[in-house]
Symmetry: C2
Subunit: 427 residues, 2 copies
């Protein structure tokens, strides 16, 4: 038992213990937050239920299972006015309903530039060409013969939270912050494949592209390609899903999701960046004076409270309340998260569910009490470089309001006396 | 870049580099293992493919996604002669096709005693009674108000590998070792809920039961209940699946899966074990002399090679070969895995994909060469207590052949010259 574990054994505030002990005592038949039932026995306890007196579904029911019907709202969602073209656009991870750190592939957001393609392993080819000693073509089976790594990383779209540059727009964490997922990848380090081809001295960049019609070409400095990029074939233990690049995608830890090329088909070693459409007219930040910043790859430290939030209101009345959310940084591990309930007047240190991991999601909790007063909830992440997540106003001071990408500003949820939450901005 | 990372950049044996560089060179148009095509250009490289010239599936296609059709063999499977009664029986995780450490809920094995029940959160109740100061009933919403933890643990059925006591029986890692999964759980420490009720001095055990018809009651020493057990509501970030105990199950880290009671409805604090059906006539080990060992809860250190294996033969010919598998211990972290290719005459240290974690799966790899000779593949795990996974013969010397449960013996796959694998035993 660790010291932290002991903490939760004894660390309950007296008021929390009082509350739940009183409200849920068996003798009274009462249940927290439902005082109206206090005088009646609970038939869910006193009567034999159908599910305890008949047999349920057998093991042959679902060779590959799906969530239970009661969780049918925990799905990827689109924003109709944002995604007029369903082929080339985006949907969002239901982060308001998730806990922990792993994102199941089934509800991890999608972003396509020309739709998700169906590519068999047998038809997969990966070419390495350009400034190499020996241009190579790998089949899927070839990839399986190289030493593999396992690493857990977040992937965040550069446009995540992008609509919020103009002020509070979308009323839900899924829509403001749901272009992110976090998975355990298995694959071959890109440096291994590049070493196989033999990078020539003049090679300073790689240009990577996918097998889909968009090709989504991006330039990556050789230094990053050799540091920690992977050609991943599996996520969360199983094959990549079609919509995430089956059978192989590039993993570019900590850098914007657009660079994680799906259905990866070619890596060209070059002596300079290609300056493709996806890295010039798109995925750059236009500043207040109309000029655009070049090469804004790293996703800076960011966090968001996922519950309570507009899609996850407080429904249980006053007393004990768990506030939770997630934090991440493209520059390394999260070292701390602070939470405020009063719009930044006072901050409390959140509890991290586990020590921050390099370029991966960290789950945080604040175990607190709610007396029914309105709250202005915010979270603020810190990473191992010492960087602290800025306010939206601080971002606008530097970048103006012409940007779409790389909005890592502090998010505010206003929670009213009924426990309902709204996306707001405060200054 | 860590030292280990650097290793995979430069650590390829000359033969591996030679092989792949030669075989996959673009100029020759050849691909590893398919020398017959050497003289012809590869149309998958030289011709524009359909998937690169049309748009694919859009983001609205799958609000909750499933694996691509080409992975339709990566599913839970039953063994017909073993699972005559589909309601009360088992299926198996397709571990031969997985990598990494996380098991997706969709293909994580099921074991039911009276079928999987459909229980709404609104109808969920958890009672704590017996030797407590205040008997309590918690709703699902109550559980959500207590401080939560996140932990990744393996769950192994006590009967995993049970058929193999009688010698090699089932021809596939899925069937010999697939009653295991490994997930990230979020939930409330059991000690927190017990503290809320107030355990009396005479309370030494808890008796836990589920809401299904079987109730599957099990006794657990209070010490374990307070140490690391959890009432989990989520796995791998999302709600538990129906077949894994939605909306709440018990997590009993490192201990046999039968104790991880699903649809958890009651926890009674007692002064001794109940000695229920599930812990007397079932889930005990009958020894050679006909007597049964009492209380065999911990799943000892174990490992298995998942590829190559009977369902995952070598299909790519001679040369570089990745051997992979997984290891786990109910007594703590895995500290090492050895692999032999010659039935135990010589052993090599496998590469762990990450340092072993407490009571969680560890992925191991041996990056080697195969010259086409037959192999007798085995893996042997070591845990932080110094315990070393035994041979099946060593287990039988102590326990005879009457057992069904707790077979953690070393598994052998015989690989023939064609790369096909079979389940065999060698002495």
């Amino acid at each position: 038992m660790t010291t932290k574990d002991k903490g939760s054994e004894t660390g309950l505030a007296p008021s929390r213990r009082q509350f739940l002990r009183g409200a849920a005592a068996v003798g009274a038949g009462a249940v927290a937050g439902t005082a109206a039932r206090a005088a009646e026995p609970d038939p869910l306890i006193t009567e034999v239920q159908d599910w305890a007196s008949t047999t349920g579904a057998g093991v042959d029911a679902t060779p590959y299972g799906l969530p239970i019907e009661y969780e049918s709202d925990v799905v990827r969602r689109t924003v109709p006015w944002l995604t007029a073209d369903p082929i080339s656009s985006i949907n969002f991870t239901p982060i308001h309903a998730l806990d922990g750190t792993i994102t199941p592939q089934g509800c991890a957001f999608e972003r396509h530039h020309s739709g998700a393609i169906s590519l068999r392993k047998e038809d997969y080819r990966l070419m390495i060409n350009g400034l190499v000693d020996t241009p190579l073509v790998f089949t899927y089976e070839d990839l399986e013969r190289f030493p593999r790594e396992n690493r857990t990383y977040f992937l965040e779209c550069a446009a995540n939270t992008g609509m919020e540059w103009a002020g509070a727009q979308l009323n839900g964490a899924q829509f403001t912050h749901g272009m992110i997922h976090n998975m355990e990848y298995s694959g071959v380090p890109l440096r291994t494949l590049l070493a196989e081809a033999g990078v020539q001295t003049e090679g300073k960049w790689v240009y990577v592209e996918g097998a889909d019609a968009s090709s989504n070409g991006r330039s990556i400095p050789l230094e990053k390609a050799l540091e920690d990029c992977m050609v991943a074939t599996r996520a969360n233990g199983e094959a990549l899903r079609m919509e995430h690049g089956y059978p192989a995608r590039l993993v570019v830890p900590g850098w914007e999701g657009n660079m994680w090329v799906k259905w990866l088909r070619r890596i060209e070693v070059t002596n300079g960046p290609v300056e493709s459409r996806e890295e010039t007219s798109k995925y750059t930040d236009t500043l207040a004076d109309g000029t655009s910043r070049k090469w804004t790859w790293v996703m800076d430290a960011k966090s968001v409270i996922t519950s309570p939030s507009p899609q996850a209101p407080i429904t249980h009345g006053h007393g004990p309340l768990v506030i939770t959310g997630m934090a991440w940084s493209g520059r390394g591990a999260i070292t701390g998260v602070d939470v405020t309930m009063d719009g930044g007047k006072t901050w409390q240190k959140a509890r991290l569910a586990a020590p921050g991991q390099d370029k991966a999601l960290t789950r945080f909790y604040l175990d607190t009490e709610w007396n029914g007063e309105e709250m202005f909830l915010q979270s603020r992440a810190r990473d191992e470089t010492g960087y602290i997540q800025p306010t939206k106003d601080q971002l606008r001071e530097v970048r103006g309001e012409n940007s779409v990408y790389h909005n890592n500003g502090i998010q505010t949820w206003w929670v009213n006396g009924n426990g309902e939450a709204e996306n707001v901005e405060i200054s």
